[in-house]
């Protein structure tokens, strides 16, 4: 999952550094992720994983690192399986 996130991040994140250079826990905002790019990334993730981010996930924390995004995606897809 982290590889897919990293791929979408390099496509939509508009980061000045290559996404494959970033550690899973690196702070994406410090790496230069803008709020506009984070929304573009979110839309791409929604499309890729066929999900919708619930309101509770729409904050800076969710998109603060690759592993934070992976964790959020895992939570959202798990909820879906239960439902």
């Amino acid at each position: 999952m982290n590889d897919t996130i990293r791929e979408l991040l390099s496509k939509h994140g508009g980061l000045p550094v290559a996404a494959d250079q970033l550690a899973d826990t690196a702070d994406l905002y410090e790496a230069g992720l803008s709020s506009f790019a984070s929304v573009q990334l979110m839309l791409a993730l929604e499309e890729e994983f066929d999900i919708e981010f619930p309101e509770a996930y729409l904050n800076r924390k969710t998109f603060s690192s690759i592993s934070a995004i992976a964790e959020a995606l895992a939570d959202i897809t798990k909820d879906r399986q239960v439902a």
Binding site: Y29, G32, S34, L43, E46, L58, N59, R60
Partner: protein
């Protein structure tokens, strides 16, 4: 009880009203001469209003943002330049008080703000970046215990009158543009070389000249939290709410003047409703909307305060952006209504019903952080943010 303690024991709004009375007296001169509202700000300091939001153990009064917004609204009714200077100072205080907790240097400085009633300015705009708060070209250079920074700051409001300036920059020379820190420089630690003069339509007394800022200070004066976090959780919301409050103040004074005009006309023609009365009712209606907008925003902010998740939520940013855009647009409609009510007496300077200064000051509202930029930002968030359609939520 010593004199400052006696002042501080009084009601905040009452102290603000006393300062506003002094500020009102000089408002037209400050505007005409485009000079710093020295008398108004001295009165604000005499009322010990500079550090009220700071914790009591550091000499403050732990005033809420709502109380400070009330002070801004009161000052805004008298002199918008005094109110804006005060509001911008409080935006820095809110950042320092909440995002430098535990930093010995910053806490000692907060205490000095209370003791000496110091004025803090900020330098965020930069040549080549424009008004985008969240980007810097300049980078702070940390050389052992010393930090050095040069910034081509296109605007530093009341820079020449400030006792300290909070300056944003990249964290270091290698950091990308949005990886910023804020550093607090004291007056004796920097020089300002003026590059442009603030000769504007309104808000003339804020003296927002451009400068080349050159500073050197101990590295401990860099704020410990990343500026991204301070901007997202505090600065933007606090700015929109305090500005909204003082903009309300400008419009409220315009409505008060036009109401006085209509009343005077009614007294001259008993039995007849003056022609401006209906429009006054409309202006009062619109003013109430501005007030409701700001008050609802303050309530939302106080409920979210201290909760990073709530302050970071997209729906919160959308709400704060809406307050800024809504109030800045509406006050112009209101003041224009008031202008129609008072006619030539409003258009002319030096009458009790003059509204030129109000109208010019109010025009800054949709430009300081451009409404177009904010709407663009909101529209991006609305691509994913789900609208909360409840009335009370």
């Amino acid at each position: 009880m010593n004199a400052p303690a006696q002042v501080a024991a009084m009601d905040l709004a009452e102290r603000a009203r006393r300062a506003a009375k002094v500020a009102a007296e000089f408002a037209d001169r400050v505007d005409a001469e485009g000079r710093f509202p020295a008398e108004g700000m001295e009165a604000v300091k005499a009322e010990r209003l500079m550090g009220v939001m700071i914790r009591p153990e550091l000499g403050g009064e732990s005033a809420t943002l709502t109380q400070v917004a009330d002070v801004c609204a009161i000052l805004g009714q008298s002199c918008a330049a005094t109110a804006m200077t005060y509001a911008m100072h409080q935006i820095q205080i809110a950042s320092l008080a909440d995002y430098a907790v535990g930093s010995a240097w910053h806490e000692a400085f907060l205490k000095r703000i209370c003791d000496e009633q110091l004025l803090v300015a900020s330098a965020t705009s930069e040549a080549g970046i424009g008004g985008n708060l969240r980007n810097s070209i300049c980078a702070i250079e940390v050389d052992g215990p010393i930090a050095r920074l040069t910034k081509d700051a296109t605007v530093i409001s009341y820079g020449a009158a400030a006792d300290a300036i909070m300056v944003t920059s990249r964290r270091n020379a290698e950091a990308p543009h949005p990886d910023q820190v804020a550093t607090l420089f004291l007056k004796e630690q920097y020089t300002l070389e003026r590059t442009s003069v603030w000769d504007t339509l309104g808000m003339r007394g804020t003296c927002s000249d451009g400068y080349i800022f050159r500073g050197e200070c101990p590295a401990e004066q860099i704020l410990p939290r990343p500026f991204a976090e301070i901007a997202a959780q505090s600065m933007l919301a606090v700015s929109h709410l305090l500005w909204g409050a003082l903009w309300y103040g400008i419009a409220a004074d315009a409505v008060a003047r036009s109401q006085a005009f209509v009343r005077a006309a009614a007294r001259k023609m008993p039995g007849q409703t003056p022609p401006g009365a209906l429009r006054l009712a409309e202006a009062s209606n619109l003013l109430q909307q501005v007030k409701a907008n700001v008050v609802a925003g303050l309530k939302q902010f106080e409920a979210a305060k201290g909760n990073a998740d709530a302050l970071n939520a997209m729906s919160f940013s959308v709400a704060m952006n809406n307050i800024k855009v809504g109030t800045s647009q509406m006050i112009l409609v209101i003041i224009n209504h008031c202008m129609l009510i008072c006619g030539i007496s409003a258009y002319k300077n030096g009458t009790p019903y003059s509204l030129g200064r109000h109208l010019r000051d109010a025009h800054s509202a949709q430009l300081m952080i451009s409404n177009d930029r904010i709407l663009g930002n909101t529209s991006t968030m609305l691509l994913v943010n789900k609208q909360d359609t409840s009335l009370l939520g």
